[in-house]
Amino acid sequence: MPKEFEFEKSIIELEARISELQVISESGKVDLSREIQAITEKVEALKIEVYGSLEPWQIAQVARHINRPSTLDLIKIICGDEFVELHGDRLFGDDSAIVSGLGRMGNHKVMIIGHQKGHDTEENIYRNFGMPHPEGYRKALRMMRTAERFGLPIVIFIDTPGAFPGIGAEERGQSDAIARNLAEMSDIGVPILCFVTGEGGSGGALAIGIGDRVFMFEFSVYSVISAEGCAAILWNDPSKAKEAANALKLRASNLLEAGIIDGILPEPLGGSHRNHQRAAEEIVKQIEAHLPILKKMTREELIENRYKKFRSMGRFSCEEELENA
């Protein structure tokens, strides 16, 4: 996972030069402020040009940028030290690829659950690159039932390449864990807000993704399969990931149009990894906008509306005449 992408190389290069010039300028020997100003403007123009027209495949790369704000990053900014992390599924283990706990977001006490990736290799190995085992999903479900018991809304951050495909995961029922969450989340009597912050990877993302409101960050993706996986299967050629990313329509704007998500959270030019604070603010803004409405609903209304929301997803034709077409 690179810290910078091919398509932003010239921007990062220029930004580095600006920094250097600034040092010289500030040392007082030569005043370069006008030159710096000029280059900065050019970089900004370049950013708009580059980031404003990212291809789906490029967005999929931004979505998994190693410095993208992780669940714990966002929690740290929003909840500070008042967050209490809660661990364990009470069945088998504590999955470090999913974190959860109690915190305050804006004016609301909430249960927070999210995939957790690392910002370096060591941390990523510890977090299994954000790919949960069944115990992660079961921990998430336990937390949701706890939240429900105490009337706490649930805030979920989605950022995973997918559920882990491994021997232990299969032995302990990855399918059961995901399926169970899908069914049980349709039955949770408190508001659920989901935010796709980075990678919304297939069933492993959806397994904590049944929300009353689902939002995506501008440069996040949400897909039934990774572009690489899709290319490998359908094109029989993993290098066709760009084509697959295009075909899968995995961008936030595609999903909004398809009626799958409820809104898109803007990101700074280049992506949220350049400004965690801003990402946190956008999240709090949505929480403040939506929780007061959802909190007024009864348990039954929440469950019924959530059912209808997901019930309506899908496109098909019902016309009998097509039969004989």
């Binding site: 491994g166 021997i167 399926a179 019930r311 039969e323």
Partner: protein, 274 residues
């Protein structure tokens, strides 16, 4: 409730190929013998894939099956094209299988007990789940909840239908929520997993039975064996992700031989049905 019709699909003609090799012992088996023998290998008893209408005949009382929602068909919401367009693939699958989609649903009875039946068809794009599979299953689950009719779903699927992108993923949510609804109505749901049941189908309705039944030897799992081998870079143990492995690991209630599948289902429904 005007969305089902009373037509039962006719039995398909015998496929053009006349023989099949047993997937376990390699024995060459004549299709016409196989059809008489419930698609069990006469040499090693391997449960080979059973064609759709044979499966429906196996699990429902004679002439009791009445298809519903046959008219629901896939569209191509993403205008998806890989080496071929999704539209073409659909046309080919319809032509090949003589059904409109990867699941066929209907009303039927089993030893006199009425129930809703969904049977997936692996021949139709690998039994992949797109919007239509999700919708048709959700509808029989909703009828089950409304009319207090037990639901039995026979899975055979490689997972999600990638060509429908995010819509196909959301069918996992939709069908699972419909099952929870059925649970709340205290109506039995029995899941039958046949070879193969993987990916998004395994990780949604197929795993959520009040009783989960698998056919002997069926491959069942979330991730496909190849994906796992590539990820962990080691060979998988013998029997991994087979029905018996899942039984041992607590994921299914029982592995049932095809010859007694109907009678077992009927018996379970007699216990669970109020």
């Amino acid at each position: 409730m005007g969305w089902f019709d009373k037509l039962t699909r006719p039995r398909r003609d015998v496929p053009s190929d006349l023989w099949k090799k047993c997937t376990r012992c390699g024995e060459v088996l004549l299709i016409k013998d196989l059809a008489k023998n419930l698609y069990l290998c006469s040499k090693c008893d391997q449960h080979l894939r059973m064609p759709l209408w044979d499966r429906i005949a196996l699990l429902s009382d004679d002439n009791s099956f009445v298809e519903v929602n046959r008219e629901i068909r896939s569209v191509d919401p993403l205008k998806f094209v890989d080496s071929k367009s999704y539209g073409e693939r659909l046309k080919e699958s319809i032509a090949k299988t003589d059904v409109n989609e990867a699941v066929t649903t209907g009303r039927a009875s089993i030893e006199g007990q009425p129930f809703m039946l969904g049977v997936m068809n692996f021949e139709f794009m690998g039994g992949s789940m797109g919007s239509v599979v999700g919708e048709k299953l959700t509808r029989i689950l909703e009828v089950g909840a409304d009319e207090k009719l037990p639901v039995i779903i026979v899975s055979a699927s490689g997972g999600a239908r990638m060509q429908e992108g995010i819509y196909s993923l959301m069918q996992m949510a939709k069908t699972s929520a419909a099952i929870k609804k059925l649970n709340r109505a205290s109506v039995p749901y029995i899941s039958i997993m046949t070879d193969p049941t993987t990916g998004g189908v395994s990780a949604s309705f197929a795993s959520l039975g009040d009783v989960n039944i698998a056919e002997p030897g069926a491959l069942i799992g979330f991730a496909g064996p190849r994906v796992i081998e590539q990820t962990i870079r080691q060979k998988l143990p013998e029997g991994f992700q087979r029905a018996e492995f899942l039984l041992e690991h607590g994921m299914i209630d029982c592995v049932v031989h095809r010859r007694v599948l109907k009678s077992t289902l009927a018996r379970i429904l007699r216990y669970l049905n109020a």
